[in-house]
């Protein structure tokens, strides 16, 4: 088949024959295999409606191509709670809790982002400050002597729902006392042997939210800031409970940190 001069059937150069074989056989076979087994990439065409007001119980319609039931949609960084698949061209996504603004609609499959509609969805709502900075006095409640020694002024700590605490001042440790609310407006105090309360003044930068009653509130972990509540902070050596005695006022803006 291949002669001494390297010609196939005595006519074609061997290397040329190999290249022709590659073009005629290998490439089409590879192309066919890829077309047969590779999933077509999903495409996003539109989101409807393109704008909504803040609220609950709403959903948007996503239109595209090659959608799959296991895909997910996020509105900017916020993932939709479900992906209700109606077919390869249509899906419905319940609206998560979003702040007013314009968002990208991002489509993910099980492993990566696959399509995006930039700045395609707008949420409208009453204007309000995203955060508020409050000065609160109170005490780190029921902490050990070692923990009390680890707390200093200027420390930053965080809590649930994006609350950030800055310690403005630290007092002298006192014997620990637990305040237990037994009825509206009534609390009792119980000593905590071997533990301490460390008075402190904190500046809390707190995300605002609109409660069901329409009031703007500052809350963390489901706890609305108010006297006698305990805010759980992530301290230098573990979680700490800070008992709020008094909300003073809006604190001045924090100094920019180097």
């Amino acid at each position: 088949m291949i002669d001494a001069q390297g010609r196939v059937f005595g006519r074609w150069n061997l290397v040329d024959a190999l290249l022709v074989g590659l073009l005629l056989v290998a490439l089409p076979a590879g192309f066919a295999a890829a077309r047969l087994f590779r999933d077509p990439p999903p495409v996003l065409h539109s989101v409807s409606p393109g704008a909504m007001s803040q609220g609950t119980g709403q959903q948007v319609e996503i239109r595209g191509e090659h959608l799959r039931p296991y895909m997910r949609v996020s509105f900017g960084p916020v993932q939709g709670p479900a992906f209700l698949y109606y077919g390869p061209g249509q899906a419905f996504v319940p609206l998560p809790a979003l702040e007013p603004g314009t968002y990208d609609i991002v489509l993910y499959d099980y492993m990566r982002e696959v399509a995006r509609l930039p700045q395609s969805f707008t949420v409208t709502g009453p204007a309000r400050p995203p955060t508020v900075r409050l000065e609160v006095t109170g005490a780190f409640a029921g902490i050990s002597r070692e923990m009390a020694g680890a707390l200093t002024g200027g420390q930053l700590m965080n809590a649930a729902d994006g609350l950030i605490s800055e310690t403005l001042s630290i007092g002298v440790a006192q014997p620990g006392v637990a305040r237990v609310r037994i009825a509206e407006g009534r609390t009792v105090e119980a000593p905590m042997d071997g533990l301490f309360d460390l008075p402190a003044t904190l500046a809390l930068t707190c995300p605002t939210s609109v409660a069901a009653d329409g009031y703007l509130r500052c809350a963390t972990g489901g706890v609305v800031l108010a006297p006698d509540v305990h805010v759980v902070l992530q301290g230098p050596a573990g979680r700490l409970a800070f008992r709020v005695d008094r909300l003073v006022d809006a604190a001045p803006a924090a100094e920019p940190r180097p």
Partner: protein
């Protein structure tokens, strides 16, 4: 270049386009078969190649069936077990993060999920980086690791246990249904098995070699493998490191009767002093309490479970200090009994449980043959028997006192099976040879093959 070579090249190219890991693991299987084909004895070689080709072929068919039977319109990829889905997704997320491919914020969080700590996702992620996302290809890697580990163990026991017993053990490793299922899965089992096989092989080979430099190197490698086993699953260090070390010590001591007698006497003197120390008692109690907590958690997971205590024990998680001495004894003794008996054939009702019945009968048979195999193994090769035997004991002990869920028990029993099958096979060989007019199993079928 012949048409055959050209066609082979085209085929490999097409296959690589479909699944790069199929081609890469195919090379691995070819290397394993080539290693096996170097067996000098023709009869033995024929048996080995046949068994391995059958084992590999069946596993490829099963994985191919998984691919073909999965509806890829509704699910991104198919798996045999739920945990596989998690490991594959998590490793692909890690791969995408490493390559800067944007993924969902939720997936970023779960990619570094601190609640499930296992190192298996990292080598999987490396494979996805090298060969692209390969949710089916990684099954082939599991098969390759398992088959290679089985051959390594075969080669290790063959010189001491002989041909029939070694072939029997290999057949059990390759075709026992539960081990077959783990070997095709993307779980910790195939990797853990391969690591343990390597540990045993390195330990025994180093002991058989006169060079002390090699023995020191073996200690370091075994230590590294034990660390790897621990990163893979909790208890890996104990089984691979402590189990192997204790096995080596046991082999050394038990072959020196005077030394053994002195150590036993010393233990008898020291035990009452040590065991009455508060710190030692506290450690024992804490260890038993931790085991009781694991058992409690397993009983309270979804699925079929078995209980060692009264129902009231399982209502609330017992505090470490609440566990009584009697409950500790119940945990250990009851756990060991349950490890052997469960799932009890007389209590099997569901179809899935009944489907497991034949293997459970095989399990009882293996346990019956174990003492015979241990005795004969000690007679033929005390070192190998001690290493495998102590690893078996450690694997049994760790699982027996912590299990409570049937599915988890069956799965974790697979940790002990790779050591158990060799002794059971040897026991069967010896038992049949001792029967009146008996011949070692396969003696006729293996005529012409060396011992």
């Amino acid at each position: 270049m012949t048409p055959r070579v050209l066609a082979a090249g085209v085929t490999i190219g097409v296959l690589y386009t479909l699944s790069p890991l199929l081609v890469v693991t195919g090379l691995g299987f070819a290397l394993v078969l080539r290693w096996v084909a170097r067996t000098p004895d023709e009869g033995e070689r024929r048996w080995l190649v046949t068994m391995l080709v059958l084992a590999i072929g069946l596993r490829l068919l099963v994985i191919g069936a998984l691919f073909l039977l999965t509806d890829h319109e509704t699910t991104p990829f198919g798996t045999f077990f739920g945990d596989e889905d998690y490991f594959i997704r998590r490793s692909i997320w890690l791969r995408n993060l490493a390559l800067g491919i944007p993924i969902s914020l939720a997936d970023t969080f779960y990619a570094y999920d601190p609640s499930i700590q296992t190192s298996i996702v990292w080598p999987l992620a490396v494979l996805h980086v090298l060969f692209g996302p390969s949710p089916y290809g990684v099954h082939l890697v599991s098969v390759l690791l398992y088959v290679a580990g089985a051959v390594v163990l075969y080669r290790t026991v063959r010189p001491s246990f002989g041909l029939p017993a070694s072939l029997g053990g290999l057949a059990l490793l390759l075709f026992l249904p539960s081990l077959f299922a783990w070997s095709v899965s993307v779980l910790k089992e195939p990797v853990f098995f391969a690591l343990m096989a390597a540990v045993v092989a390195i330990t025994v080979s180093a002991a058989r070699h006169p060079s002390w430099a090699l023995r020191v190197a073996a200690v370091l490698v075994v230590g590294l493998a034990a660390w790897g086993a621990q990163s893979l699953r909790d208890g890996g260090l104990v089984i691979a490191g402590v189990g192997t070390g204790a096995g080596v010590l046991a082999a050394v001591i038990l072959q020196r009767p005077r030394l053994a007698a002195v150590l036993v006497a010393a233990l008898l003197v020291a035990a009452p002093i040590v065991l009455t120390r508060g710190a030692v008692q506290d450690r024992i109690v804490a260890g038993v309490a931790r085991a009781a907590e694991k058992h409690w958690n397993h009983v309270n997971t979804p699925g079929l479970s078995y209980r060692l205590f009264e129902p009231a024990f399982y209502e609330t998680l017992p505090a470490p200090g609440d566990l009584t001495f009697g409950e500790g004894v119940t945990l250990v003794a009851g756990g060991l009994a349950a490890y052997v008996v469960m799932p009890a054939p007389w209590a099997m009702e569901s179809r899935s449980a009944l489907a497991f019945l034949p293997e459970q009968i095989v399990w009882y048979g293996l346990l019956f043959l174990l003492p015979i195999g241990l005795w004969e193994g000690w007679r033929r090769d005390p070192f190998l028997t001690a290493v495998l035997g102590v690893q078996l004991v450690v694997a049994v002990a760790l699982v027996a006192v912590t299990s409570g869920n049937m599915g988890t028990l069956v799965r974790h029993r697979a940790i002990a099976l790779p050591a158990l099958v060799w002794f059971a096979s040897l026991g069967l060989t010896v038992a049949l040879a001792r029967l009146p007019g008996g011949d070692p199993i396969g003696g006729t079928a293996l005529r012409g093959a060396g011992r």
